[in-house]
């Protein structure tokens, strides 16, 4: 019984893979990016019908600008920008951009690798909302952004030590169950 179940699962997975490939092929943004930024597009991934483009860090600003300004694409809405930590892999971090084109009803995900103590260029001048998102990534992961107008912590207070969403940061800190007595 179990064998039969797994077989049918495999089949559905295969059809899904094929569908995913087609999704990537017909995606206009992927096609255009491949033409324009041959050297920066590292890999195209598809999973559950979502297209992810792995790009190199150097040209992220230019790629963002192109996706925003191209009249056929118009990725005007930066839905989300967040970080990932793959500690202890090297390079350690990734920055993920979720773009949405209201005109075409299309979503696109960009991912770019960033090493420890490296910085990445800010996309604040393309999408204003990136201002706060990048501050959050800086706050919780410690990735710094070049040309950001106001890069400081946003959720945690100034003077907080460490970056909580890093994988080597404990869920329960050393002072977890200690009473907090402020100095007066």
């Amino acid at each position: 019984m179990f064998a039969a179940v797994s077989k049918s699962k495999d089949k559905s997975n295969k059809t899904r893979l094929r569908e995913d490939k087609e999704v990537a092929e017909i995606n206009l943004a992927v096609k255009k990016l491949k033409e324009k930024f041959q050297n920066s597009i590292l890999e195209i991934l598809t999973f559950r019908g979502e297209v992810t483009v792995l790009v190199s860090k150097g040209e992220i600003f230019e790629i963002g600008q192109f996706l925003h300004s191209d009249p056929d694409l118009q990725y005007h809405l930066l839905t989300d920008l967040c970080g990932l930590d793959f500690f202890p892999q090297v390079p350690r971090f990734e920055v993920v951009y979720h773009l949405c084109s209201i005109k075409n009803n299309q979503r696109l995900r960009l991912r770019t690798k960033v090493g420890d103590n490296e910085s990445i260029s800010s996309v604040e001048s393309i999408w204003k909302v990136a201002n706060w998102y990048e501050r959050e990534v800086y706050d919780l992961f410690g990735i710094s952004f070049e040309n950001h107008p106001d890069l400081r912590r946003i959720l945690l207070w100034d003077g907080f030590e460490g970056h909580p969403l890093r994988k080597d940061y404990p869920v329960e800190g050393p002072d977890f169950d200690k009473p907090f007595i402020p100095e007066v």
Partner: protein, 384 residues
């Protein structure tokens, strides 16, 4: 002069602190300082199994718990690639839309109270109470129901609830008219809201604003229509939009939205299909409670799922819903283990609040109150 507004200020709807630089009564610069309610939810979820993370989502935007549950379970279902039974999808839509009405009622009451119209909040909470009573019967909880499960909902609708929902739905359009008689043409209301906190289409998109705040500026973007989920494509509804993008437009957009939500609940109730309320996948969903006490295989299944959870395939998904404040999305990265590798929550209020300085700089200090009210922020989901 610099004024520190908040974090303990009734009109900031929580613990928001805004530092205002003034020249006379005109705001030169506004700097919001969020983070007072930061609970580290994204970090916390990384150490919980997928089922255990559902109660956390209730506590994001605590006025819209059903919608938050929905966004999260949709993301996990997409990751697993499982299909949800039609009845469960319709129940989810019904609950999410009732919750949207309840959330908008809180917004309307508190927003009007901030501006000085005190009467309205009593009417709004009267209707909201009915919705919360429905939730209590359906889910067992009022504010944080944790009703949805991965693959369906936790229990079927109780007997007699359909009549209660029906009587609410029938009475509600008249209540909206009642609210309108108090505000829509009220001269004080108009003076406090018209032409205040204007944000253009282009600016709103650039600042990542979503939800009624974006639609108030005239952009027809609604996740329910743009990327339909949970059978929303089978419902008939319209997306109300504004034209100027001021506080008044956001007010009218939300009022119309409540009416459409009411209509969606009505449609869901009429066409509610029969059948199972949760997908039957022995690796993911809990077995029926009766079986657990009788059948050893079901007992083992229950124990395994509760203690270990399940292991989704390696991958990453983003799923979003139209929550009451805007686009609420979950980005989940799985490394194949029983806990999420990354649990990212894209909350609407965070992006909407970032546009606050854009809306209030150059206007009067009294307008800050009405603008904060009109973008309808909840600090629980900004700080997470």
């Amino acid at each position: 002069m610099t004024i520190n507004m908040g974090p303990q200020h009734p009109a900031t709807h929580g613990v928001l602190r805004v530092v205002l630089e003034l020249e006379g009564e005109i705001i030169v610069k506004a700097i919001p300082h969020p983070g007072h309610l930061h609970r580290g939810m994204e970090k916390l979820a990384e150490s919980k199994t997928y089922h255990q993370a559902i109660p956390l989502t209730d506590r994001l935007d605590y006025t819209n718990a059903m919608g938050n549950n929905l966004a999260y379970v949709l993301a996990v279902e997409k990751l697993l690639g499982i299909e949800v039974p039609k009845r469960a999808q319709y129940i989810r839509v019904m609950m999410a839309e009732l919750q949207r009405i309840a959330a908008h009622l809180i917004w309307l009451g508190t927003h009007a109270l901030d501006i000085g119209a005190m009467t309205l909040i009593f009417y709004n909470f009267r209707e909201r109470e009915q919705i919360l009573r429905i939730f209590e019967e359906v889910a067992g909880g009022r504010l944080t129901p944790t009703y949805l499960r991965i693959g369906g909902v936790s229990k079927d609708l109780p007997d007699g609830i359909e009549e209660k929902i029906k009587s609410f739905v029938q009475a509600f359009p008249d209540h909206v008219k009642e609210y309108e008689t108090l505000l829509t043409k009220n001269i004080i209301w108009l003076k406090r809201t018209k032409g205040v906190g204007v944000i253009s289409k282009e600016d709103a998109i650039s600042w990542g604003v979503t939800g009624p705040t974006l639609r108030g500026s005239g952009v027809k973007y609604d996740v329910r229509k743009a990327f339909p989920y949970s059978s929303y494509e089978q419902f008939n509804f319209d997306i109300p939009i504004g034209s100027v993008g001021d506080v008044y437009d956001r007010y009218t957009v939300r009022l119309r939205e409540m009416e459409w939500s009411n209509s969606i609940v009505e449609q869901a109730l009429e066409r509610l299909p029969k059948g199972p309320i949760i997908a039957n996948d022995s690796r993911i969903t809990l077995p029926p409670k009766d079986d657990v006490t009788k059948d050893i295989a079901s007992l083992i299944r229950q124990f395994k799922i509760v203690s270990e959870g399940f292991q989704p395939p390696v991958g990453e998904v983003y799923a979003s819903v139209e929550a009451s404040k805007g686009e609420l999305g979950f980005y989940i990265v799985s490394d194949g283990s029983n806990r999420p590798f990354r649990f990212r929550i894209r909350t609407p209020s965070f992006a909407n609040l970032s546009a606050l300085p854009k809306m209030i700089e150059g206007s009067l200090i009294a307008d800050v109150i009405s603008v904060i009210g009109s973008i309808d922020i909840v600090l629980g989901e900004i700080d997470r």
